[in-house]
């Protein structure tokens, strides 16, 4: 079956531009997560969606970052006025339910490079 799909796989853009990253979770998974993986560092939680509940945005590093999840499925992470420190791999994950004991299934990520 299809796994978590992320697009684009690579994105290069100039500083100051806006970017949109897309995540298509596994069908039937109600929970969706975004993480950021910077070179030489671990994964940093960004935002979490569970069903129709209000998202947990506690990990977003600044107000330049936002995310939406339409129809409980596809999610878009938007970074406005990009800066060089935004360069990282952005990983999306989904799980069957947003409970603590469910493993998360990850996409292959979007590698974002800000020039």
């Amino acid at each position: 079956g299809a796994g978590v799909s992320q697009s684009p796989s690579n994105k290069v853009t100039e500083k100051g531009k806006d970017v949109e990253l897309r995540c298509d979770p596994i069908s039937g998974h109600t929970a969706l997560y975004w993480y950021r993986q910077s070179l030489g560092q671990g994964l940093e939680f960004l935002i979490y969606f569970q069903g129709n509940s209000a998202p947990d945005k506690s990990g977003l590093p600044s107000d330049r970052f936002s995310a939406e999840r339409t129809g409980g499925s596809v999610s878009t992470l938007t970074i406005q006025r990009t800066q060089q420190e935004d360069s990282a791999v952005y990983l999306c994950a989904s799980s069957l339910a947003g409970t603590d004991n469910q493993p998360q299934h990850f996409g292959d990520g979007t590698r974002l490079s800000i020039l």
């Binding site: 978590v4 997560y33 939680f45 994950a93 990850f106 292959d108």
Partner: protein, 109 residues
């Protein structure tokens, strides 16, 4: 706040030898712990989890992990390493997975 620590950035073992990748955690309440593996330019793959019950958890590809509550540890183990096990390994605590910094495992032929 919960935290996860992986004290070794790198672990090197010879093929056929046992391997251990260390993880310690700080979590209030009952911990839900996970191990994930990441191959180059790929996302993370789930290996195994501890929720409750047996302290020895068996997972994919022959990996297992031992939960030790008194030492707050959840070390990943494999009796006989393969070259193909070489990858980046992450320990994590649920729910918005708090990750350790990762351990690069290299299995030498």
């Amino acid at each position: 706040a919960q935290s996860v620590a992986q004290p070794e950035d790198q672990v090197k073992v010879a093929e056929g030898n046992p391997l251990t990748v260390k993880c310690t955690y700080s979590v209030s309440g009952n911990p839900y712990l996970f191990w994930y593996v990441q191959y180059p330019n790929r996302g993370l793959q789930f290996l195994l989890k501890y929720i409750t019950g047996d302290n020895l958890v068996k997972g994919s590809y022959g990996f297992e992990a031992e939960f030790n509550k008194s030492q707050t540890s959840f070390h990943l183990k494999k009796p006989s390493a393969l070259v193909s096990d070489s990858a980046l390994y992450f320990c994590a605590a649920a729910r918005q997975l708090t990750f350790g910094s990762g351990t690069q495992l290299t299995v030498l032929p």
